[in-house]
Every structure is written in structure tokens, then in C-alpha cells.
Amino acid sequence: MQSRAKKLLLEMHTPRQWLALAAVAGIVLVAVPVLNLATTPTSALRVSDHLIPLFGKFLCFALVAVAVDLLWGFAGILSLGYTVFFACGGYTMGMYLMRAIGRDGVYRNELPDFMVFLDWHELPWYWRGFDSLGFAIAMALLVPGIIALVFGYFAFRSRIRGVYFSIITQAFTYASMLLFFRNETGFGGNNGLTDFKRIAGLPLHEQSTKVSLYIASGFALLLGYLLCRYVVCSKLGRVLVALRDQELRVMFAGYSPLKFKLFAWTLSAILCGLAGALYVPQVGIINPNELAPSKGIEMAVWVAVGGRGTLAGAAVGAVAVNGAKSWLTAAHPEYWLYVLGSLFIAVTLFLPRGLVGHLAVVSRRITTWRKQCKLPRISIHNRP
């Protein structure tokens, strides 16, 4: 039993990789919160307060990137519609947070402010149950899952592949964006849901709440990453990779692609929903702009920058691109689009494997070079 578990762990990562993962997790989950909470504001080691929600946001994006990479990197399906699932998770959490405001809104009403503004007198049926955090979290996972299951079933059944899938998912996001922009849809229209006050009784403006949310995002990312790593190392993952490379051959070998694709697609949608649910309380707003088609493409670029088919690389890419974005939009807002645009082009032209992918290539070259130095070359047939 123990050896099976050990074998599984070793399949997922080499010992050295586990060590690196533990180190990163330690920094993200322990060191950063400690450096924020336990140091004095003037200390050189201090992680300042405003950085915590920002890092938390990056972690949520990293989780999305891992989910995108599961599908794109390992099943070869690029969806531009992850924003829908992200926003679904975000909106369900937002609905809970709106209900948690209680009577503290501008209108001192039981109903959320925008409903009072629209002259609604009772909650729409789909807002019921969102008084409870547990229900909201369950919905943040279930709703994206169900939408993905239904959408994916129809799309994969009619064997929509490649760019067609990308275009359809983009149209899907676009349609949802239009839907959420309407006031009548009941999610606050243009303005979305905002002005949150507290989560599970804790005030959102307290630093301790922010740090807790940050740590929760970190754990979500860690668990999501390990889950995806487990999936891609399993037999199911092998089938996915085979589908990516030679779909027809896999079908002729007796596999039905539908189930495998549907599983990966739904799982990644649920992870996106989770990311969205953690994202909203940290940034304090969710509105239909999150559904803009451009956001969906941006998510793909995080993965492309980090490296497709590496999972860890996707997370790195998301943090790197968003870090650059935060810095540039504050320092030189007019250059951000130039940088982002060039990044899109440069990565596809010069770094098709992404940062981490190329790092892996380089390190592999170094090891083979070392081996070649140690061993005398016996035969040319051994060369790769």
C-alpha cells in the first residue's frame, strides 16, 4: 500500500521537484503572511498590506492558468470561454457577499442596493439560498461544472475541434457578457456586484481577513495543481495526450474521446469557478467586463508564456504576466498594450514551449552534456 502511494508520488514529481514545490508553497503560504502580519510597517522585510490582495489575485489567476493548461496543454483543446466559468464562480460568491451586506447598504434595505434601485420588491428565485456561504461555494463549483458539462457534451459530441471550439467558446463568452450587462438579468447589470462588507461575519477591510483569503487562494492553487498533476499522470491523462496528438488513432483503438474530453473540460471549469469565487472577495467587485472576449485570450497567453503542458509553467506565466501588468499599468499605462501585444507575438514565434518549457529543455541539455562528458561515446546508435 505504502509503496503504491510512493510510486504515485514519484510518478507525479521527482524528489527534487517535490522539494522545490514544498519550498514555493512554504514561501507563498507561510513566509509571505508572516512577513506581513508579524513585522513592523517600517521593517525592510515587510510585505506591505496592499500587496496581499494583489498576490491573492495572482494566485487565483494562476489557478485559472493551471486549469487552462490541463485542457490546452494535455488535451490540445483551447477554450477562450474560461471567463464564463471564472465569472460564474465570481458571481455566485458575489451574490453571497451581497446578501451578507444585510441592511448596511445605501438604502438600508434587506435587498441588495441595485434591486432597490430597479424597484424590485423581492429576491428573484435564483438568489435564494445565497445567504449561506456553504451554499454559495457549492454553487461556485456546481454551476460552472454543469454549464461545462452541458456545453461540452454538445460540442464534443459533434466533434468540434481546434479553432472551431475556440471560436464557439468565444461566442459563448460574448453572449454571456451581453446577458450579464442587462439589468433585467438580475446581477447588477453594468456595475455588477460590489460594495461588499463582510464574509462569514469577518469584515473584508480587516488585514487578517485579507490574509486568510490569500492563504485560502494559495491552498486552492496548491490543491488544484496537485489534482491536475495527478490527472495528467494517470492513465486518463495518457489518453488525453494521445487524443491531443492523434485523435483518430485513439478512436480506432476503441476509446471514445467524448468522455475523456468532457472530464478534463468539466474539471478545468470547476477549478476556474473556484478561482473566481476566491477572486471576488479579494478585489471587491465582479462585473460583466470579466467576460469580455479579450480576457479569455489573455488567459491563454498566461499559459503560453509560462509553457504549455507543464502545469507549473502555466501558474508561473500567470503570475509573471499579471505582475508585469500591475507594474506597467501603474508606471507606464500607455506601454502596457504594446508589451502585451509583443508578448503574444514573441512567445508564439520564439518561445513556443514557454518560459518553463525552455528552461526544461536547457536543463535537459545540460544533463546530457554532463553525461556525455563522463561516459566515453561507444556507438553512434546510442545518440538520440
Partner: protein, 527 residues
């Protein structure tokens, strides 16, 4: 109309009435206006129209003067001699609402009595729309019976119907309803609805069965007419939306359909075309204002050239390295789109620029009551049709088209036959971009021109190409027409946003059923 024969003839009575006008007493002014309205003098209408347009002045001597419409010259009413008084120093004739009402009635009466049939027709149309003053009813009845022009006659009958619908005389009411039913105008819809409706106690508000039934049939005629008007409007607007979609999607049908390149920067080619139009327009306004009306003629080749060059450069620099990797192409071209948007924003500013339409394109043509088709839209439809023909001819009737199709079908074989495939790729991509540029010229005439112009079209145009079937021009045009018209037909029932969502959902479902589009290629080429 026969005016009361007064001693001294019509000229004398006009003089008397003018003297009353100048008196400044409200009752006198009113009776003077009524008196002038009953004169059979061509000058009478001129005087009253001048009064209505506040161009009538009274000199200190009591003389009444008419100012020309630009206020530059003054002349005496009866003699027509020009007067040399200062316009500012002269008194105006005071107006109250009762005076204005009397004035309206008198002007209408003089116009209906005019020997000029065009003047009569215009006046009758106004009366039919707004209803006649009560004092004029008997006069109009006589005018209706003696009228020879059919259009004027119908309008006069309608004008009378305003009055007769509530008349005591049963025959009059029947006649009024009949003329409404014949003309099928919706002005009377509320009255007709009131006639066929029931009161609070459940009894009909109109007790006469015959009148009620006639009103009912008139109402349905009116409603039929309304429905027909709505359908015409939706079809025309749908066609106009479809032409925009065709313009946006045709270039994409070339780059995506024929080359398999997902060009997310395609919308930006539309934007570049529109900005080229803006530049050409401002150059014309600055350098050759005499030729300003024709700047569009120059903008078309300019946009074609600019976008062809941009497309060809992009293909050489980026896209040719990505053939066979569609998803990477998608990302790289999205990056190109961002670069183009930001460059335009830096050059021209983030705000929309205005591209005024030349005079011959502004205005519109009234199709049915309330449905105006702007000339700019007509031009867009025509341009879309022309470009489609141009592209079809190029692809299926020219040597270049033959090469393009050959490379599309079998690249290796085409290369073996001596076709320079790399050059064909560049030209094809440039061509697709150039067609988008032409679309941009049309879009600049019917919408806003801003850096994000293209972003709004990218989802739609990809859907059009996918629905139409990739690599299929006919399919692209058919899909654009279908989507445009369905969109506009849905709009009144669901609202613009929900209509759009419905169309997107329908398209997604449609692609489920027919993943290869409307006109799927058969056999090996379809794989």
C-alpha cells in the same frame, strides 16, 4: 371659394384687412386674419405665410411690410414697392394662441384653395395628419367634392374623418370609417380601438352594429398595413446589418476560409480602413475643398492600398512562420491586434474621430411611413454587393484566383507545378486584409470610428464565416444575410441584446448540427 363681394373689389378688402392687422387690437387682428383667409387673392397667402414666419412688420405710417426670408429687404404688401426702413425699428404684429389658431386655419384654407396642385397636396397631407380646424370643415367638404387630384382627395377625406368620426350623422361616420379603411393609416388607431371596445359595464361603447363592424374591419386593415410596414422595415434594416457583416466577414472568408489563418487582427483592418478614410477626408477638406464631395472615391483605393500593404507585411513578418499552427496564429494575431489598436490610439487619440459623410450620402429615402433608409446604408449595401462580385470574379475568373485556389487545395502539388506558393500566400493575406479595409470605408460612413472599432466585429464575422462554411464565399454571403435579417426580425420581440444572444445561441446550436457550415464541401476537400 367665393369671397363676399365687397365694394371696391378684393384689393380694397385686402387693404381694409391689412389696416385691421396693423391696429394692434387682438380681436381686430383675428377677424382680419379670417377675412384674408377668405380672399381669392394670391397675395393673401403670401401675407399670412409671412405672418406665420414672423416676417410681417408694421411701419409707423400704418403700412404693412413683408421682410424677405433673410431679413435683408422689405417691401410693401399691395404695391410690391420696396421700402427702405430699418427692420429693427419696425413693430411686429402681436400673436396669441387664438390668433395663431385662426392663422393656421386661414393658411390651410388658402392653400387648399390654391390653384397649384402641389401646394394643395402638401396642405392636405398636413391636415390629414393633424386634423382640420373646426371652422374649416364645411369648406373642406366642398373642396373634397371638387378636388381632381386623387392623392389630395384621399388626404382631404382623412382630414374630414378626424371631424366626422365623432359626428352625430350616421352616414358621415360610416363614410369617415370607409375612407380610413381605404387609406389604412394608423393615425386613427386609438379612435377605432375605442369604437370597437367595451365600456365598464360590458356594453359596446359604439351601439350601432354596422358602424362597429366597419370600424373593426378598418382597424384590421390598419393593423395589416402596420405589420407590413414593420416587416419591410425589419427586412431593410436586416439587409443593411447583413451588408456590414458581409463587409466584415468577406476578408475573413479569404484569410480564414482559404488560408486557414485565424486572423484576430482582422477587425483592426476594418479599423485601419476607417482611419484611412478619415485621413483622406481631412486631406481633402484641407487641400482640395472643391473636390471634397468625392473624397470617398479616393478613400476606397487608399484604404485598399494601406490595408493590403499592412496585411502583406504582417504575413511576411509573423504569420508565415505559424502556418499549420492555428492556435498559435490566433494568439499572435491577437497580439498584432493589440499593437495596432495601441498605435492608432497613440497617433489619433483614444476618442472617436468624426468622418462626416459627403452631402450626397447624407439624408435618406422614406420607404414606408416611419421607415427611413439612410443613403449611407444604401451605399454600404451596394459596396458590399460590388466587393462580393469583385472577389468572386478575382477568385474564379483570374489567374491569381486560380493560383490561390490551387494552393488552397494542394500546396505541394501547386508548388510542383511551379506556382510560387509563398508569394501567393502573401498576396492572399494582403487581399483579405484589403477587402476588410474597403469594409472599413463603408463602416466609417454608418458608425463611429474609434480605435476599438474592429473589436466589435470580430466575434460576429468569425461566426458568419463558420456558419457559412469555411472556404466558401457563397456560404459567407448567405450566412451574413441570414444572421443580419434574423437578428433584426428578433429585435422587436426580444430587444436588441436578447436578440443578439438568441442569434448566438442559435448559431452555436446550428454548428452542433452542421459543424462544416451551411454549404459543406463534399468529399476529400471537406476533410
Amino acid at each position: 371659394m367665393v369671397s363676399p363681394d365687397q365694394p371696391g373689389g378684393p384689393g380694397a378688402s385686402l387693404q381694409a384687412a391689412l389696416a385691421q392687422l396693423a391696429s394692434g387690437d387682438m380681436a381686430a387682428i383675428k377677424s382680419a386674419i379670417v377675412a384674408i383667409g377668405e380672399l381669392e387673392d394670391p397675395v393673401a397667402l403670401t401675407v399670412l405665410e409671412a405672418l406665420r414666419e414672423r416676417r410681417l412688420r408694421v411701419a409707423a405710417t400704418g403700412q404693412v411690410l413683408i421682410a424677405s426670408s433673410d431679413g435683408a429687404t422689405l417691401r410693401e404688401v399691395i404695391s410690391g414697392r420696396s421700402a427702405s426702413e430699418d427692420l429693427e425699428s419696425l413693430g411686429e404684429i402681436a400673436m396669441t394662441n387664438t390668433v395663431r389658431r385662426a392663422l393656421r386655419a386661414s393658411v390651410a384654407r388658402l392653400q387648399i384653395a390654391s390653384p397649384d396642385s402641389a401646394v394643395r397636396r402638401r396642405a392636405a397631407a398636413v391636415l390629414a395628419k393633424n386634423g382640420p380646424p373646426a371652422a374649416l370643415v364645411e369648406f373642406l367638404r366642398a373642396a373634397h367634392d371638387s378636388e381632381s387630384d386623387p392623392a389630395t382627395r384621399v388626404n382631404l377625406a382623412l382630414a374630414l374623418a378626424h371631424h366626422d368620426l365623432s359626428s352625430e350623422d350616421r352616414e358621415r361616420r360610416l363614410a369617415a370609417i370607409r375612407s380610413i379603411a381605404r387609406a389604412e393609416v394608423r393615425t386613427f388607431k386609438p379612435q377605432l380601438e375605442a369604437m370597437v371596445g367595451r365600456g365598464e359595464g360590458g356594453e359596446y361603447s359604439e351601439s350601432d352594429d354596422e358602424i362597429r363592424e366597419l370600424a373593426l374591419s378598418a382597424l384590421s386593415a390598419v393593423e395589416r398595413n402596420e405589420l407590413a410596414g414593420r416587416i419591410v422595415r425589419d427586412l431593410v434594416y436586416g439587409l443593411s446589418l447583413a451588408s456590414v457583416l458581409v463587409l466584415a466577414a468577406l476578408g475573413l472568408a479569404i484569410t480564414f476560409g482559404l488560408m486557414g489563418v485565424i486572423n484576430m487582427a482582422h477587425g483592426e483592418m476594418l479599423m485601419l480602413g476607417a482611419y484611412t478614410t478619415y485621413l483622406v477626408q481631412s486631406e481633402f477638406a484641407g487641400r482640395v475643398p472643391d473636390w471634397y464631395a468625392y473624397y470617398l472615391v479616393a478613400a476606397l483605393p487608399a484604404a485598399f492600398g494601406v490595408c493590403f500593404a499592412t496585411g502583406a507585411v504582417l504575413e511576411r513578418a509573423v504569420i508565415r512562420y505559424l502556418y499549420g499552427r492555428p492556435l498559435e496564429t490566433l494568439l499572435a494575431t491577437w497580439g498584432l491586434a493589440l499593437l495596432l489598436i495601441q498605435s492608432v490610439r497613440s497617433l489619433f487619440g483614444a476618442h472617436n474621430v468624426t468622418v462626416p459623410s459627403p452631402a450626397w450620402l447624407s439624408g435618406g429615402y422614406t420607404l414606408v411611413e416611419g421607415v427611413i433608409l439612410p443613403y449611407a446604408r444604401v451605399a454600404a449595401i451596394a459596396l458590399a454587393a460590388l466587393i462580393t462580385i469583385f472577389i468572386a470574379a478575382l477568385l474564379y475568373r483570374s489567374r491569381l484566383g486560380l493560383h490561390i485556389r490551387a494552393v488552397t487545395e494542394n500546396r505541394a502539388m501547386a508548388q510542383a507545378m511551379g506556382i510560387r506558393t509563398a508569394r501567393v500566400d502573401t498576396v492572399t493575406f494582403g487581399l483579405g486584409s484589403a477587402v476588410a479595409g474597403l469594409g472599413g470605408v463603408a463602416l466609417s460612413q454608418i458608425g463611429n470610428v474609434g480605435p476599438e472599432l474592429g473589436q466589435g466585429y470580430i466575434v460576429d464575422s468569425f461566426l458568419v464565416v463558420v456558419v457559412g462554411g469555411v472556404g466558401n464565399l457563397l456560404g459567407t454571403v448567405a450566412a451574413a444575410l441570414g444572421l443580419g435579417i434574423v437578428n433584426k426580425l428578433l429585435e422587436p420581440a426580444t430587444g436588441a441584446v436578447l436578440g443578439k444572444i438568441c442569434v448566438l445561441v442559435v448559431v452555436i446550436l446550428f454548428i452542433q448540427r452542421r459543424p462544416k457550415g451551411l454549404f459543406a464541401l463534399q468529399g476529400r476537400a471537406g476533410q
